[in-house]
């Protein structure tokens, strides 16, 4: 049989194989809170707050003075992409009761629940950046948490969420999250999502890293694909109107700072469309494509933090933005798939993290930040594997899964991962795979209240603006556990849809004169005054991967090309 890795890597693989039997049934000690903090402080990029290469204080806007990753500061301290003077806002193309921006899970949940609440599908206008459903939601693999197990309860789930977030979460938001878990699973079940079930219909549930009960519901390792496409199909079946390849580039506001719609840019015809709306829901997802700290990312092409940028200019506070989730198991080999996610389900099913010497160096189901930091430590201490392109990594010992669960368990439960590696002639059920932390999830974002309204620093909601999903912050505090994000986008997508629908039914359609971009002009003036010298524009809509940039970030610490001004279609 031919070996899947070059000899210099196989040497290390053999060490991993040599210790496998001994590791197989090993009981790991979980790290204590104090030990975790020590590892994090030493090794996690989030703990470099004082290093200006990694973090800086925002110089403008509602959350001025807060510390955020440099790449986020770059898109916030940037001029609006739209020149208010160049747009004719008097030609209104679309009128909406509810205007939804983004068609990931959060956007679709908002659409369906607004419709359930009585808003007609034709009165919901939807803007999405690329193809319908192109999103992080579709890419999620592992699963979704909900406390429907016998030994579980909303209280236990709540404690897990809080502990995962290092007790910094908004307690009320976290409560609403867990209390609605089982009902969201039931909703998806009735919409026809195929969960992994036992023959009697009971859910097969797995443990998520950082959790204390088995409550991950999965659809093989295509959970997001399955849930997202079911939501898409339902929305299309109800007659959804969607503007594809039409990202929103700015909100519109009236003189009392209420949001009155959005300005949409047609990527293909390169024209603006004005959407006038009674209520607006931002569901634009995360920021992986900003390549924070120079990491590769698991995120889709359009994950560029646009929602945060637009809401921020309209007055929203941003919270927990100082913390970023690096997923401990991004692919590190082969080169073509560097950064892609190797789902946590691998570890839930028994795979361990092992260094070049064959030593398992951490309990495989610690929280993601701790796992990632531990990997970076091993690598820094010389126990990593270096590939020919210079990419470093440690092993994820996937063959353990079949050893523990029987031949075929890997291929059955992890079809996507199996296929991913098979394309490169690596049988991941027989050989370990090389991994490195990868930029995965935007922990923080737009501050919201329990009704999914975007709020200002003083806690007051911004008029008629709702938001849900990865673009928001607070529910997960400083760190999100696997599976809680899909739960969040359903719970808060639904909340946003219902809240927006209810408000719309009591609100008059804005007048033409209420559609303004004055908040952008004000923001630009403030930016100018702040002394920040920049030509950057945002939202950036798509990262710039032209030429050499496409091969850009391959690991922790490399200078990213993304902090330059991204003059998209100019």
């Amino acid at each position: 049989m031919t070996e899947p890795y070059p000899e210099y890597m196989m040497e290390s693989v053999r060490k991993v194989e040599a210790t496998r039997e001994e590791r197989k049934d090993k009981e790991f000690d979980r790290v204590s809170d104090d030990e975790a903090m020590e590892i994090l402080k030493e090794w996690h990029p989030d703990y470099r707050k004082s290093d200006p290469e990694f973090f800086r204080e925002i110089a403008v806007g509602p959350s001025k003075g807060k510390t955020v990753p440099t790449e986020v500061a770059n898109v916030l301290e940037a001029y609006p992409w739209v020149d208010p003077k160049s747009v004719d806002l008097s030609v209104i193309e679309h009128d909406a009761e509810v205007f939804v921006i983004g068609t990931g899970g959060a956007g679709l949940a908002a659409i369906l629940w607004a419709n359930n609440e009585g808003v007609k599908m034709e009165d919901i206008v939807v803007s999405t950046k690329l193809r319908l459903g192109d999103s992080n939601s579709k890419m999620s693999q592992g699963g979704i948490q909900a406390c429907d197990g016998e030994d579980d309860s909303p209280l236990i789930h709540w404690l897990d969420v809080m502990s995962g977030g290092h007790w910094t979460n908004d307690r009320t938001l976290a409560r609403q999250l867990v209390m609605n878990g089982p009902s969201m699973i039931k909703w998806m079940e009735l919409l026809g999502a195929e969960f992994d079930k036992h023959d009697d219909g009971g859910m097969q549930e797995l443990m998520a890293g950082g959790a204390s009960r088995k409550r991950i519901h999965s659809c093989k390792d295509y959970t997001g694909l399955e849930l997202e496409r079911v939501l898409m199909d339902e929305a299309l079946s109800r007659g959804m109107r969607v503007l594809e390849f039409c990202p929103t580039v700015s909100l519109l506001t009236d003189d009392s700072s209420n949001v009155t719609g959005g300005l949409v840019w047609n990527l293909e015809t390169e024209e603006y469309h004005v959407v006038r709306a009674k209520t607006t829901v931002i569901a634009t997802g995360g920021f992986g494509r900003l390549h924070v700290a120079g990491f590769p990312t698991t995120n889709h092409y359009g994950a560029t933090c646009d929602g945060v940028v637009m809401a921020y200019r309209a007055g929203a506070d941003i919270v927990h933005m100082q913390s970023t989730q690096y997923h401990p198991t991004g692919a590190a080999y082969p080169e073509q798939i560097v950064g892609l996610l190797i789902t946590e389900k691998c570890r839930s099913m028994g795979a361990q993290l092992v260094d070049a010497e064959g030593e398992a160096f951490i309990y495989p189901l610690e929280t993601r930040d701790v796992e990632s930091a531990a990997e970076l430590r091993q690598i820094r201490e010389g126990k990593g594997v270096k590939t020919s392109t210079g990419q470093m990594g440690v092993w994820l010992d996937t063959p353990l899964i079949d050893e523990i669960r029987g031949e075929g368990a890997f291929e059955e439960g992890l079809a996507a991962i199996h296929r991913l590696y098979a394309r490169f002639d690596i049988d991941a059920s027989k050989y370990p795979v090389l991994v490195h932390p990868t930029l995965h999830y935007q922990n923080g974002g737009i501050a919201i209240n329990a009704d999914a309204q975007a709020i200002q620093p003083n806690g007051e909601p911004i008029g008629r603006l709702f938001t849900a999903g990865e673009t928001t912050g607070g529910v997960h505090g400083d760190n999100r556990l696997m599976g809680n994000s899909w739960l969040e986008l359903l719970v808060y997508g639904r909340r946003a849809g219902i809240s927006a629908a209810r408000l719309a039914s009591k609100t008059k359609m804005p007048r033409k004169s209420d559609l303004k971009l004055t908040h952008l002009t004000r923001y630009s003036e403030e930016l100018q005054k702040s002394g920040v010298k920049t030509e950057r524009c945002s939202p950036i809509i798509l990262p710039n991967y032209l030429g050499e940039n496409t091969m850009a970030p391959v690991g922790y610490g490399k200078e990213t090309p993304f902090d330059r001004r991204l003059d998209l279609f100019t």
Partner: protein, 250 residues
């Protein structure tokens, strides 16, 4: 404290350059790139034909031929490495109307599916779809399973479908497989799989307010107490709240 440059050495292009023909025009690109990155390297700003960049969304369907090879290949641009002499073009979209249906009005049988997609009865079992599928699925077997009224099998066989449309482009029966499969899977999820009783049970408990009082207490506890509770439940113990004194903690 480590500085910013440590775990990765310089990112150097190790491979040689190869020539690929993007819509007929030759470009020199590094050999280790995927088709998607090769296009970007060549200067194309992708809008169509790109999405997740990870093999999940099916937006990047690409057809190509190789040098001195008559075969027409179909693959996902984000998952396929370039080869020297590759002639390629993307098919970012396969036109197809998605019929509207209400799951609640349907039954899980093949008649429901044939009602919306009568063309599946025209499948001639040529298997061109299977040869095209970049996910290595067997759309033909799934379509035939529907004909046998075995929706469960059709759902299983099509579960990993990313709606790239490669099969539909090749199908002489003009079937739009991914729409067909979507309906099949929803019917199976809704009507063939058994309902999770324990989930429904928990929903009832929550809606009846059974957890509200305890939650009121829990969310009001100071962080130190929460941490202690967490350590205990994490060891598998049931949750025991401190004495109930509703209203005391705020």
């Amino acid at each position: 404290m480590p500085s910013k440059d440590t775990t990765t050495e310089k990112n150097e292009t190790t491979g040689n350059l190869v020539t690929v023909y993007i819509m007929g025009k030759p470009y020199e690109v590094p050999s280790e790139l995927t088709i998607m990155k090769a296009q970007e390297y060549a200067g194309y700003r992708l809008i169509r034909g790109v999405g997740c960049r990870g093999g999940f969304c099916g937006a990047c369907t690409t057809i190509y031929r190789k040098r001195e090879d008559y075969k027409l290949y179909i693959d996902l641009a984000c998952q396929t490495k370039v080869e020297d002499g590759m002639y390629l073009v993307q098919i970012p979209f396969v036109p197809a109307e998605k019929p509207q249906w209400n799951l609640e009005d349907l039954e899980a049988n093949s008649d429901s599916i044939i009602h919306f997609f009568p063309e599946i009865t025209r499948c001639v079992s040529c298997n061109a779809c299977t040869q095209a599928c970049p996910q290595n699925l067997s759309p033909m077997r799934a379509i035939q399973a529907i004909r046998r009224n075995d929706l469960k099998m059709a759902a299983d066989l099509s579960f990993d479908c990313v709606s790239c449309g490669a099969c539909s482009v090749r199908c002489p029966a003009e079937i739009t497989h991914y729409h067909v499969f979507q309906l099949v899977r929803r019917l199976v999820g809704r009507y063939v799989q058994k309902r999770a009783e324990h989930t429904a049970e928990r929903v009832k408990e929550i809606e009846a307010g059974e957890y509200d009082a305890d939650m009121d207490i829990l969310v009001g506890l100071p962080e130190e107490e929460l941490k202690e509770l967490f350590v205990r439940i994490r060891e598998g113990n049931p949750l025991q709240l401190p004495e109930r004194e509703v209203g005391k903690h705020d």
